[in-house]
Symmetry: C2
Subunit: 358 residues, 2 copies
């Protein structure tokens, strides 16, 4: 970093996303131990940052999941395109053309399809590889399992290479653990059945599922109808940075990310310059260690020290920095331009959040 760059968090312009490099690294190590190599297909939508994705690749995961065309193109531009899966349906012809162009320049591009229309759109634009997206219980994208074989036939008839299947049990991410242990296996079993119906046109079929909430409830491998050992890819992303929602569910990952703010007002309460425009709010209010969050406004969180906390905030002054812990990391990250890497209060580096937009 140049001499004029911030050397501590006290010099950062706020609001600012800060990531603790050591906590992040421990999360990467923990996940890579649980799901090594190709048994994890990290989802970049959680961090939207190619520098962070590169660390995931260093930990052995070289196949990635994306939610938008922009994420796919950004990963390709960053040289992380060994095997990119767009786990989402797209019918926008010009965007699909841009994916086909990336593919023609050497990126491995695969997209999810769940209907004749999405198959037509992929074929028409020249995208070559697809997976059949299966509805395994979440009412979102995905075809009924019983329609998967027919769709695969249609895709092949249109000249597409069918690599296998994906299915996301998003309805089971945020439920009680015991209930998860009961309900995730049958959802996954329906995906395995769908793979048998779909088949695969490549050496190693794709079966892709799950997330941070269920990463340890899926096997590492399954055996397909042809007797092949197939890696089960889990599409986890939030494990890297975590948030209060996932942390409350007892996953073995640490908070690695905060939105740093500056205290701008102090009276019977405190106000920090982090708000609705710098925090994903769909999972509710953020948290501040040692304090109680009262409410959020566009550019503010109002909070007060919590005397009942193990270490309540004390002696907070206007100008002090405060770490605000988002309730949901994915939409939070999408609101910011860059991640500041920190160790304690020391600023080590700045990473662009370069996969934003659509």
């Amino acid at each position: 970093m140049s001499g004029s760059s911030p050397s501590t968090i006290h010099e950062l312009p706020t609001p600012a996303v800060i990531v603790d490099i050591d906590a992040l690294d421990r999360n990467l190590v923990t996940m890579a131990a649980a799901r090594p190599g190709g048994t994890l297909r990290p989802h970049v939508k959680a961090h939207k940052c190619t520098s962070l994705a590169a660390l995931q690749a260093v930990r052995g995961h070289r196949s990635f999941t994306c939610a938008t065309v922009q994420e796919m193109l950004g990963m390709a531009a960053a040289g992380l395109a060994d095997d990119l899966l767009l786990a989402n349906e797209v019918v926008d012809h010009s965007r699909l053309l841009s994916l086909a162009a990336a593919q023609d320049q050497g990126a491995s591009i695969t997209i999810a399809v769940d209907s004749p229309e999405t198959i037509d759109a992929a074929a028409h634009a020249g995208v070559q590889q697809v997976v059949i997206d299966i509805d395994i219980g979440l009412p979102r994208c995905g075809c009924p399992p019983e329609a998967a074989g027919e769709l695969a036939d249609l895709a092949r008839a249109r000249g597409l290479i069918v690599r296998g299947v994906m299915g996301y049990e998003g309805h089971l991410m945020a439920i009680d653990r015991v209930e998860q242990q009961v309900r995730v296996p049958p959802a996954f079993a329906s995906l395995v059945t769908a793979l048998d119906q779909v088949g695969s046109d490549v050496d190693v079929p794709v079966i892709s599922t799950g997330g941070t909430g269920t990463f340890d409830l899926h096997p590492l491998f399954v055996t397909d109808a042809g007797g092949r050992q197939i890696p089960v890819e889990v599409q986890a992303g939030s494990y890297t940075l975590m948030d209060t929602d996932y942390a409350s569910r007892g996953r073995p990952f640490e908070h690695a990310c905060w939105v740093l703010g500056t205290v701008i007002s102090r009276s019977r309460h405190l106000v920090v310059d982090v708000g609705l425009k710098s925090l994903g709010m769909d999972h509710g209010n953020p948290s501040i260690a040692g304090a109680t969050v009262w409410f959020c406004s566009d550019e503010h969180v109002t909070f007060a020290p919590d005397p009942a906390s193990a270490s309540p905030l004390v002696d907070v002054a206007v100008g002090d920095r405060i770490r605000v812990l988002p309730a949901h990391i994915d939409p939070t990250i999408a609101m910011h331009d860059s991640i500041w890497l920190v160790r304690g209060d020391e600023v080590l580096d700045q990473w662009p959040i370069d996969l934003r937009g659509w």
Copy 2:
């Protein structure tokens, strides 16, 4: 627009913010009739768009409210700097220096202060004009009314020009109308009292308050201790575009803004490519006319036609465009790069959302 630009909404890349120019104009006319000229100081945080602010200026409002330094600088760069008020506290020295630089280039810059620290920060950076921010009941920024006079003295001692006071009754924006009618006047009265204590160093003192939720509950003018008729500035912004939250409260403004999406999947339900990363979610789920919204994901809204609706959605196909009505407009706008101006399905123009960031 160039020949290759979209001519209808069916050609727009999605998600895309669309604004109905006629509904917007009616909202501008309605507000300008209710609060003409300087009795409205439009808040740009709702739309973050200098092209839209320019229309507000055409309707007679040439003083603006901002929430961030970036909004102030963007308005100055757009030549809309007759009288810019940063209705927020800032202690970031380099950002305050940039405001002072804009001021030295001819912009009229005023910032809110509520503490010795924020006064010091303004004076140290060379910003010349301030208002004293008064806590009139919302626990956020603002000094206690009884401290206002002393802070004004301190500001003057530091060489600052004290223009008057501001106070935002945000705690009364979203309550029952009858309760508003009871509680807004005394909150405003405390601001008037504070102005008497603060005084003003300029010809026309500033008394700035309110929002879209209370724009019609404030007088247009008050008489100060010196017998002067002073315009009461209301800091409304959301009236321009509206959202489902404000609409539910019976304000006389129309929905003028939607996030346009494309249907990407259809089965027992429908899925549109608008989600948590393109919608402010702090006021809850968005709405879709003729349909019931089931839930939102990062890049999706799952919904289904509502048979009980007056005109339920019918015959929706993959690839169709759907208008999603945000629950809260301000954070929604902050997630997008541009506004597409439309009349019906026709696309008229593209405006950059050029006041994003901090």
